[in-house]
């Protein structure tokens, strides 16, 4: 239970607000939480940035799109020939075990402000390069 909800319940218990007022506040809090969740999901992007002397890459994919695409990928697995799937199973790779939804959820949950990759490399041909993968 969130601390805000707990505070409202305490206020009811102490008699500072009536039960009806408390209920109204709880409902308002639920609506606010839902709104911020949907806004953040729509506005967050999966970003890849490569900044080098010669090469520049800028990839910007919204998380909502990745979620829909993951459904598509899961279905695409059905088209892999049975023979190829058996061969992969022998190697210990079971494609049916990959849960794309969970992968997206993990990205969403674990990367609230963090970076997935942040590397700086010095390439003899390309020069200095910065590679960053993050959710914004």
């Amino acid at each position: 239970m969130s601390s805000d909800k707990l505070k409202i319940l305490e206020m009811i218990q102490e008699g500072k607000i009536s039960t009806a007022e408390g209920l109204e506040l709880l409902q308002a809090l639920d609506i606010t939480n839902k709104d911020t969740r949907s806004t953040s999901d729509k506005d967050r992007n999966f970003r890849v940035k490569v900044d080098g002397d010669k090469t520049k890459v800028n990839v910007n994919i919204p998380l909502s799109l990745i979620r829909v695409a993951s459904k598509f990928l899961g279905m695409g697995m059905n088209f892999i020939p049975a023979q190829a799937r058996d061969e992969m199973n022998k190697q210990g790779i079971d494609l049916s075990q990959i849960d794309f939804n969970e992968l997206v959820s993990l990205i969403e949950q674990g990367l609230t402000d963090g970076k997935l990759v942040d590397v700086e490399v010095e390439d003899p041909q390309e020069g200095k390069m910065t590679v960053q993968v993050y959710v914004e």
């Binding site: 890459v57 800028n58 994919i61 799109l65 459904k71 598509f72 088209f79």
Partner: protein, 96 residues
């Protein structure tokens, strides 16, 4: 953001300096309708041959997911999605 305009084109630009400069404009509403029509057509044949669980139903569900993805792409509104610049080539994918 709730008033964001739906995007109409998915533009893919490929430029290889001193060789070629290509622009592929993909008309999203048309693609969406085509997918829907093909899906209806396949669903009909699936029903005629009563082939539940066959490759036909796999295609059907893939087309449906493709349609969902297209609608999601359209709802994103105009934005730059991919921009790759190297000395050899430039690739840009954007929604307009």
């Amino acid at each position: 953001m709730w008033n964001r305009k739906n995007s109409t084109f998915l533009l893919v630009k490929v430029r290889v300096p001193s060789r070629f400069n290509l622009v592929f404009p993909l008309l999203l509403p048309l693609l969406d309708e085509t997918l829907e029509e093909v899906n209806d057509w396949i669903a009909f044949w699936k029903w005629v041959y009563n082939r539940e669980g066959s490759w036909l139903s796999n295609i059907c569900s893939c087309l449906q997911a493709g349609g969902d993805m297209l609608r999601e792409i359209r709802a994103l509104g105009p934005m730059d999605m991919i921009e790759i610049k190297t000395p050899e080539a430039e690739i840009v994918v954007k929604l307009q």
